[in-house]
Symmetry: C2
Subunit: 219 residues, 2 copies
DNA sequence: CGGAATATTAGACCGATCGTCTACAAAATC
DNA sequence: GATTTTGTAGACGATCGGTCTAATATTCCG
């Protein structure tokens, strides 16, 4: 998956000073950044199709013209969101799965706890961007399909690494197929997130995570 | 969940003869029926929001006036679809889970095989209506939430029954919590269906089903 | 057999909202 | 201070869900 260029400058490190309109009265607010942030909120809640540009724009307080200055189309905007979400999530996974302070399986549990807290923070209205867009893939730009698959594959790799560590730590049977287990986890996890959203509670998240961890091959 | 009245007459058993326009040249085609059938196809593929009435109407070859004669609104139409899908799926589950010719766990496997075949028949474009609508629940009529939860609860009950039978048949440990296992299954299964749709293949379905069945507590 | 009643079709129409695009204003640059 | 770059502003056409009136087909009832 092509990466990097579309996300654009992060505005912090050495880069050409912005020439156009001032950095707005509110210095912390880069328009493009604000659009992406708000877009993530709206799309993780309602998906792509149901998210109207007008509402997003009103929310951010930006006119339509600006949106189409920063993004070629809603499709391009969605692609940027997928990329950004993937990066955000990869950081989160690394933070947990590579945490040497915890045993490998405890790291997975920590991720689950984190996810529960995260969903609770938004009253279980927001789900997973990948799950949301994946569900409506038939109504989406075909290019999204491969991106979403790639994101899932990436998560699988990171979890598989954690499971390998569990193997070395003796928490997991040496015969375990970590890649397969990781694929199994994320598949079910997406279902759990969907259900947690539907039920408005963390029950499904806990239920799935506990079932998964409890049935891991121990020896 | 209220049931029955909204679905309307099925046109087969004793009921007042239709007075209006003839049963159309094509006798097999009741307009309302055709709308529901096509609606199921469209909504399982693209979800609720992305499915426009106009496209559906064009597809069925029915004018808007007819649609609003049979249904009060798009919301009512969706509710009828949920009801109908639930009934359709309940029949399917019973057909498998109550099949005395197979051992209980073999019945579950048969359902999985059936689902794979079913998804393949539509080239993995159509998913589960409950999953689709559940995912976009934030953008849907609030009344749908309870309906969808109820459908899931119903499926859980039916699967739990099958698992209880497995227990009696000695295929499952007596200590197994069937209700919990059933909830776990459907949670993950929805994720698997989503992913199968995303990947355009049955891999996720097989992966999840095999993982689930293989880790069932045997004794 | 004929007119009233009912069931259904037909599609024009409306306000809202979709995504796009053109025109313009403000800073920076030379 | 003219030009270029950067960003803002909102008009625009298409389409959406939903409503409504009119036309038509059939049955009902006398």
């Amino acid at each position: 998956m092509p990466v990097g260029s579309a996300t654009g400058p992060a505005a912090s490190p050495p880069m050409r000073r912005k020439p156009g309109r001032p950095p707005r009265v509110d210095a912390t607010r880069d328009t493009r950044e604000a659009l992406l942030r708000a877009g993530l909120g709206v799309l993780t809640e309602k998906g792509f199709v149901a998210s109207g540009l007008d509402e997003l724009l009103r929310r951010v307080g930006v006119p339509k013209g600006s949106f189409y200055y920063y993004f070629d189309s809603k499709e391009a905007f969605g692609a940027a969101l997928i990329e950004r979400y993937a990066a955000y999530f990869a950081r989160k996974l690394d933070r947990h799965f590579l945490d040497e302070a915890l045993s490998p399986l405890a790291r997975l549990q920590a991720f689950v706890d984190d996810a529960c807290t995260g969903m609770a923070r938004h009253a279980f209205r927001r789900g997973c961007l990948v799950g949301n867009l994946g569900q409506e893939i038939a109504a989406l730009p075909e290019a999204y399909r491969e991106s979403l698959r790639a994101v899932l594959a990436d998560w699988e790799g990171r979890l598989a690494g954690c499971l390998e560590a569990a193997k070395e730590a003796g928490e997991l049977a040496a015969s375990a197929d970590c890649a397969r287990l990781a694929a199994y986890f994320w598949t079910g996890w997406e279902g759990a997130v969907l259900r947690a959203k539907l039920e408005g509670g963390e029950r499904a998240l806990r239920l799935f995570a506990e079932g998964f961890i409890a049935t891991l091959p121990r020896r």
